[in-house]
Amino acid sequence: MVRQPFKCRVVITGCGMITPLGKNTEETFDHACRGMSGIDYITAFDTTHLPCRIGGQVKDAWLEGEEAGAERFYKFSSRGLRLMRKATVEAAQQACLDNLAHRDRIGVSFGFHGDSPAVEDLMFLHRFYDGKGAWDMEGLMRTGGYSYLNFLRRKPDVATTILPKMFDCRGPNLTVASACAAGSQAIGEAYRLIQEGKADVMIAGGSEAALNFMGFVGFVLIKALVERYSTPQKASRPFDRKRNGFVMSEGAGAVILEEREHARSRKVPILGELLGYGASADAYRITDTHPTGLGAVLAMRGALEDASVEPESVDYINAHGTSTAQNDVTETRAVKEVFGKRAKEIPISSNKSMLGHAIAAAGTIELILTLMGMNRSVILPTINYEFPDPKCDLDYVPNEARKKEHRIALSNSFGFGGQNACLCVGKVAG
């Protein structure tokens, strides 16, 4: 193992989230501890006759009461960006981000895919198009044309345009769009920037709001979503034999990463240390994951090596655990490959059993829940675990949270198209 001569150490000083289970980190964690489900029938749009009609929605009321000065951003923000703003404000407040003097040493790295165009927008445009290539541009311009605000809202990069403006941070800035891995990769890349001395502080996270016609129906058509369930709350059942697809949800998560000495010098509470990051690609097929979990193995090993942590030292794994037939088997295989005989001794649980899968937000939300569990010596459960699958034979922390001291954990995020990320976090003494 070759270690770089010197790399800064990176700690977490702020966390924020908004999820189907709660309007902030405390509420989400509290509900998750009790094994509650945030999944229900979708009310955001008409799902009549769709084979999947459920999802994890964030309550609209939680998005009301915008933070001070936010009116300015409102018109630029689609739902995904409003979720992002809620989560980042919580994280920034916890880390006392306002107090920092050197704003050009604060950067932003955020996982976001932009929001799909609204069907209403497309219907409006339809009036000016003959379907064969010819546009009535005069009519389009005369009627006020295509709303440039809608255009802005859909661009993924608007996420990292709004955040620097909101928090007045002029450091490195990037948007990460890597499907289910985005929320973890955004944190991993931010961590690297601090390690390399390019920034002292990074706002990192992910947001997703795809519970609308355009965002949802595509997933239904490719049969990725759950179609057989007794109740919405029972539909997301990672590692259970009767799992049959994922449940899509929305939400956002954000963390404030900070160079350790920087955080110590300003005496903010340190919530945990980011020890390592591994990223990889399956390079296998466009939509199927590698059957032996090759990319997942590379990502987990990468994170461990980066952290200089031996597999023997890992106390907990926050699984990607989507509740699809494919992911849960390959993830189990990958964990066995990395941890050998010890695999069965390590508790591994999937927050998606309660929260559903918030795509670009999932990795961040799950890292924060991992951290919170570590600081409170609680391992969150995998709910709806009823029928063991012989191919998934690890300790998935079934149905009830477990009281257990743990100090080093991995958090996995494996993208649909083979983009993989794994973060290694450690508890900070005291």
Partner: protein, 188 residues
């Protein structure tokens, strides 16, 4: 009823064309007995793409669910796929009836579900299309005419009113077939 307007060769040709377009392979290199996954490099999502092309070409609706999923739905959990996600003996018995001599030799009880998709062949897909085309009703639903025709050798239309033939969709066809077989053979 068994339709005679569109030949087996025609269907096979169209299936090859759909596969060639989807997978970007040379149509003439595709053999009827080729496995889509093993020989031609298809992945799961490609099946949806190929089906969509066939639906557009023939004016049909292919099944959204595999026959094994229908068995589970109709005859209860565990009837086709056991708790180890392996094929049951009853599922194999049923597939033997369905596929006859075309039953792949690898198909056996205890086989893992993951090993099933690679058994889908080019001619297997052609048979799916032919089965749906054979649901052609005797009379046109719109005008009652009995003279069917096909101008392009792909889509069947009414010779009197020119309306498209109403064919049974793939999922309904599978369900009807399962009810029929169960009645006769009482496998489940």
């Amino acid at each position: 009823m068994k339709q005679t307007l569109i030949s087996e060769a025609m269907v096979l040709e169209e299936v090859k064309k759909a596969i060639a377009q989807t997978l970007k392979v040379d149509k003439d290199s595709i053999q009827a007995e080729n496995s889509l996954m093993k020989d031609l490099g298809a992945e799961s999502l490609d099946f949806l793409d190929i089906n969509y092309r066939l639906e557009q070409a023939f004016g049909i609706k292919t099944a959204r669910h595999f026959v094994l999923e229908h068995i589970e739905e109709m005859f209860g959990e565990g009837s086709a796929i056991d708790e180890n996600s392996q094929l049951t003996g009853k599922a194999i018995a049923l597939l033997k009836i369905r596929l006859g001599n075309d039953l792949p030799a690898e198909l056996r009880p205890g086989m893992d579900m993951d090993e099933v998709p690679p058994l889908v062949t080019v001619e297997g897909m052609a048979k799916v299309v032919l089965d749906i085309l054979d649901t052609l009703p005797e009379k046109c639903g719109a005008c009652g005419g009995k003279a069917w025709k096909s101008e392009n050798g792909l889509r069947i239309k009414c010779g009197s009113c020119g309306g498209e033939a109403t064919l049974t969709d793939g999922d309904t066809l599978t369900q009807e077939w399962l009810i029929h077989v169960q009645k006769e053979k009482k496998i489940f």
